[in-house]
């Protein structure tokens, strides 16, 4: 028969499998990740002029000198091509006739500044693409103009290193997607423990413990083991999937330790809440707030979990991040011990 804790953990996992909830859970996580990726890939490709092969034609008009500068700046930008127009009404007609996608009208102000009146189409998604490119060109213009006026500046601006190709999704993958996939399973596991214990109380099945050869502590342990063990396994599975997909994930053992530690903290939180307030409504509410507290609280730390996970996965983490993981595992162990003390002081028959 072995340890009753394992038997209970097996039973918990069995019920998850039977209800197919675990499938639903995985599907939800996949959906959330896919949805956020969809959003970001969709939006970033609009924001990044190099990412989409979308050609924007710009009508340039206004002062002769400024037009020349503007055209030069527009020419430096990929996906942007400028056309001079004699007057602003010509340019606007071309804009309305969809010969050009945007209009820039330049004039020189009294203070020597170049005033640019930009007109962009109001068509939603396309607008963003146009405006992003216009902004890049105008910043280029600003840079050259500034250099010409450097005599009247107290500090010279630093010269900007040349642009290179870099995936715009790179930062997002590590700072958002990786932490999301690592921590979502932890949330869900904690919620599982709350549900599982609240249900035992609601159904009155804990009373059976009086005649069963298992202690209440063993029941709680078994549930913690099942739910808490599931989270790191899922998290690592996601990481391997990312790796298969071509995203390099470094220091997987450390990530595992981190998720395990965090999952110990969150799962004990769930169990403690479920034991102290056995009605599920109250327990779930308190649990949600508690998790919010844990994540909001740790996000204020210099080594917050999301950032640490991102740096570990990138492979740019130093000693500090690894110490943070060790600390998290330690906190997890302390939480488990604390829970055991709480469990020993509770009579399961008086719950509910």
């Amino acid at each position: 028969m072995g340890n009753p804790r394992f038997a209970i953990a097996r039973r918990e996992l069995g019920s998850l499998r039977k209800e197919k909830t675990i499938v639903l859970a995985l599907a939800i996580q996949l959906f959330v990740a896919a949805f956020s990726s969809f959003l970001v890939v969709g939006l970033v490709s609009l924001y990044d002029p190099g990412a989409a092969s979308y050609q924007v034609d710009v009508a340039v008009t206004g002062d002769e000198e400024a037009v020349e500068d503007l055209l030069r700046a527009v020419g430096t930008e990929d996906g942007l091509s400028g056309r001079p127009y004699a007057s602003s009404s010509d340019a606007l007609t071309a804009f309305q006739g969809r010969e050009v996608d945007a209009v820039l009208e330049a004039s020189t102000g009294e203070d020597g500044r170049i005033r640019v009146a930009a007109v962009a189409p109001d068509t939603g998604v396309e607008t963003t693409a146009v405006v992003v490119r216009l902004r890049a060109a105008l910043r280029e213009l600003e840079r050259t103009e500034r250099a010409e006026r450097s005599a009247s500046l107290a500090t010279d601006p630093l010269s900007l290193p040349p642009a290179t190709e870099s995936s715009p999704y790179f930062g997002f993958t590590y700072t958002v997607l990786v932490p999301l996939l690592l921590f979502l399973p932890v949330f869900i596991s904690g919620s599982l423990v709350v549900d599982s214990l609240a249900e035992e109380v609601a159904r009155g099945t804990l009373e059976l413990l009086r005649v069963a050869p298992v202690s209440f502590a063993a029941v709680v342990d078994g549930k913690l083991l099942a739910a808490g063990g599931l989270a790191p396994v899922q998290a690592i599975a996601w990481m391997l999937l990312l790796q298969l997909n071509g995203t390099a994930i470094e220091s997987v053992p450390w990530l595992f330790g981190m998720v395990a530690g965090l999952s110990a903290v969150v799962v004990t939180l769930g169990a403690a809440v479920a034991i102290t307030s056995p009605d599920r409504r109250v327990a779930q509410l308190l649990y949600s707030i508690g998790v919010l507290l844990v994540f909001a609280g740790t996000s204020l730390l210099p080594l917050n979990p999301a950032n640490t996970a991102a740096r570990l996965a990138l492979g740019t983490a130093g000693v500090g991040a690894k110490a943070a993981v060790a600390g998290l595992v330690f906190v997890g162990v302390v939480a488990l011990v604390g829970l055991r003390i709480l469990v020993d002081r509770v009579d399961p028959n008086e719950l509910g």
């Binding site: 909830t21 639903l24 939800i28 949805f35 956020s36 970001v40 970033v44 006739g97 969809r98 020597g112 500044r113 005033r115 640019v116 009146a117 930009a118 007109v119 962009a120 189409p121 109001d122 068509t123 939603g124 998604v125 963003t128 405006v131 216009l134 902004r135 105008l138 910043r139 500034r146 010409e148 500090t155 601006p157 630093l158 900007l160 290193p161 642009a163 995936s167 790179f170 930062g171 700072t175 932490p179 919620s191 599982s196 249900e199 609601a202 159904r203 009605d279 409504r281 779930q284 949600s288 507290l293 909001a296 609280g297 204020l300 210099p302 999301a306 950032n307 740096r311 990138l314 740019t316």
Partner: protein
């Protein structure tokens, strides 16, 4: 007359009594200690969230290590950047080394990302330096006034066929006409050049980099929701701006993101409690006493739901008041809350345990959040955006008026779906379903079957499935909208065929499984015909789609043209052909529904095969119609 009145009063009394009982019982579970703990936890969490929002949670802190000497001119730029971690040049573990003469980059993806982060850091450092300059006209030699202008309709170049949308541009123009106001408000809020320094620049980069995280922070910060004045909100939508080039922020659907989180997150708490309460009735046969009482199940459900619905309304009103929305905002969001409650109710009626309920509620909330959020991204493309009620809120905040047709288009399907779900759930609010343990799909079939009493009911159920079909198809349109039209048109057609065939056949399958009809060819033909007819009649209501102009989008035409809604526009087609086209969908629905009904009468695996066949027929028909009309 008086008889009906007394009955109505009796119903109302029963509902109110149960609602009161539900409230008092819920309050009873909350003892003083837990209430205090909860309150303290909320306060602490709120404080931390506010602190995090003020201090900013740097997800990308020290992401890349840069080897740089302390006396390098670039040192300050690297040191002040959150994503870069300045290290001594001698450190071998770095992605980037900046020396006097050149920059060496590790030849990895990480190295290239570090380099581009470095470039951004230098750029925003320059902005900050310039903001401190005495001679502002030399520091910011270029001033840009950006206007958004709507172009007249010409040709359906991209996805847009007509430009008759009333929203967007014209109003952006008027907002600009209050123009000087917007400009000065922008001076504090959006203009990096004069006041804000590099701060806003960083902010813009942040949104580009990690949309969802930025929104989280913003949602956590309640100050961020009500702080921006109307001008500020117009700025968020990319209203006209003026300032240095760096201060131009491309339109980002930031406001709808914040709104989505502000309105929908509290609903999640409400449905958690509501789902627990409903499932509690089903544990240990607790609900039995209520069931044997002389009250109809409908009244019980109404009574149990009422407090939570009122809670949702109260929260929505409070949030709407906080963000400055009016009656329209509340009227647009409350139906979403009702749909949240309705699907949770059905989920709690089906779930076998709290665990299963948790996953059902999470699924519901993820799905509905997607449904309300995705279309709202395209605030400027009116027909798509209107799919989401949040667009109504956004417009209400901007002070625009909303035509009744558009309001109905946005809210109607949601409201109808909520009502149908409640009907479905009430159908299984009876002893034999409440206290038995069956898997969710089987319970679902039970619920469908409970609404079928005779062959005619099949037609009714098909018609009632229309709101769900509508919601599913709209979501598909909204999600696929960003992809190129060549790719999305076939995908939409497949999605439409799958959704519609399922909607026409699931309840027929349920009826056959429950042996409600004899498993003969004749009865499957009758049921299939009725189901097709019901669906056809229901589908005619998609004419509402025309009111809102979704037909003007290529995708909208693809999804809805096969139903024969938009064919009146086909000027070159003769009357007979129009009549034929008008009735063709009826024939199609009857045929495919008969195919699936026949499959369903032979058992579940035969149903699966028949479903695939029906989808194929449907797809072939749709392809013909779309190519004929296109």
């Amino acid at each position: 007359m008086t008889d009906r009145r007394t009955r109505l009063v009796a119903h109302a009394r029963a509902v109110l009594r149960i609602a009161r009982w539900e409230v008092s019982r819920s309050a009873g579970t909350l003892d003083r200690r837990t209430a205090v703990i909860g309150l303290v936890a909320v306060l602490v969490a709120g404080g931390i969230a506010a602190g995090a929002a003020v201090g900013g949670v740097a997800l990308d802190r020290d992401l890349y290590r840069v080897g740089i000497a302390g006396d390098s001119p670039y040192y300050d730029a690297v040191d002040q950047s959150s994503a870069l971690d300045a290290r001594p040049v001698s450190d071998p573990n770095v992605e980037l080394v900046v020396s006097e003469t050149h920059i060496s980059v590790a030849d990895t993806q990480t190295g290239r990302a570090a380099y581009s982060a470095f470039r951004d850091a230098v750029r925003s450092y320059n902005e900050r330096q310039m903001a401190r300059e005495e001679n502002q006209s030399a520091a910011f030699p270029v001033v840009v006034d950006l206007q958004y202008r709507e172009r007249d309709a010409l040709v359906p170049t991209g996805s847009r066929v007509d430009g008759g949308a009333s929203g967007g541009g014209g109003d952006a123009g008027t907002a600009g006409g209050g123009g000087t106001d917007t400009g000065t408000a922008g001076g504090g809020g959006t203009d990096a050049g004069t006041g804000g320094g590099g701060g806003t620049d960083d902010g813009a980069d942040g949104t580009a980099g990690g949309g969802p995280s930025a929104s989280d922070a913003a949602a956590a910060d309640d100050g961020g929701v009500d702080a921006p004045s109307l001008g500020g909100i117009a700025g968020l939508f990319g209203g006209d701006t003026s300032g240095s080039p760096a201060s131009i922020s491309p339109p980002f659907p930031f406001a709808s993101l914040v709104l989505a989180f502000a309105f929908l997150v509290p609903m999640n708490f409400v449905i958690q409690a509501y789902g627990s309460s409903v499932l509690n009735e089903r544990i240990n046969r607790r609900g039995e006493l209520l069931l044997v009482a002389p009250i109809s199940p409908g009244d019980i459900v109404a009574g149990k739901t009422l407090p939570y619905l009122l809670g949702t309304v109260a929260i929505t009103v409070a949030i709407a008041a906080a963000v400055g929305g009016g009656v329209v905002s509340v009227a647009a969001v409350v139906p979403v809350g009702l749909l949240f409650l309705a699907s949770t109710f059905v989920g709690a009626m089906f779930a076998r345990s709290f665990k299963e309920l948790t996953f059902v509620t999470v699924t519901v909330s993820v799905f509905l959040t997607t449904y309300t959020f995705v279309p709202a991204i395209f605030t400027n493309v009116t027909p798509i955006a209107l799919i989401s009620p949040l667009t109504l809120v956004v417009r209400d905040l901007a002070g625009e008026s909303i035509p009744l047709g558009e309001f109905l288009f946005s809210v109607g399907p949601i409201l109808l779906a909520a009502v149908v779900l409640f009907l479905l759930g009430v159908g299984v609010y009876r002893e034999e379903d409440m206290f038995t343990q069956r898997s969710v799909p089987l319970k679902f079939l039970d619920a469908l079957d409970s609404r079928i009493s005779r062959a005619r009911s099949v037609a009714t159920l098909s018609a009632l499935s229309i709101p769900f079909v509508f919601i599913a198809e709209l979501l598909a349109i909204a999600v696929l909208f960003v992809l190129p039209v060549d790719l999305t048109v076939p995908m939409i057609l497949v999605a439409v065929a799958v959704v519609e065939e399922l909607a026409k056949s699931l309840h027929v399958l349920a009826a056959f499984e429950k042996a409600r009809f004899s498993r003969t060819l004749r009865s499957s033909l009758v049921l299939g015909g009725l189901s097709g007819l019901g669906f056809f009649v229901g589908e005619k209501f998609t004419a509402i789609a025309q009111l809102a102009g979704l037909q003007s989008l290529t995708l909208g035409q693809t999804a809805f043209a096969p139903s024969g809604v938009g064919i009146a526009d086909g000027t070159g087609v003769g009357v007979l052909a129009v009549l034929g086209l008008f009735l063709a969908p009826l024939a199609l629905h009857a045929v495919t529904a008969s195919v699936t009904a026949f499959g369903a009468s032979r058992g579940r695996s035969a149903y699966g095969v028949a479903l695939v066949g029906a989808i194929a027929i449907h797809l072939a028909y749709n392809l013909r119609v779309v190519s004929a009309l296109g």
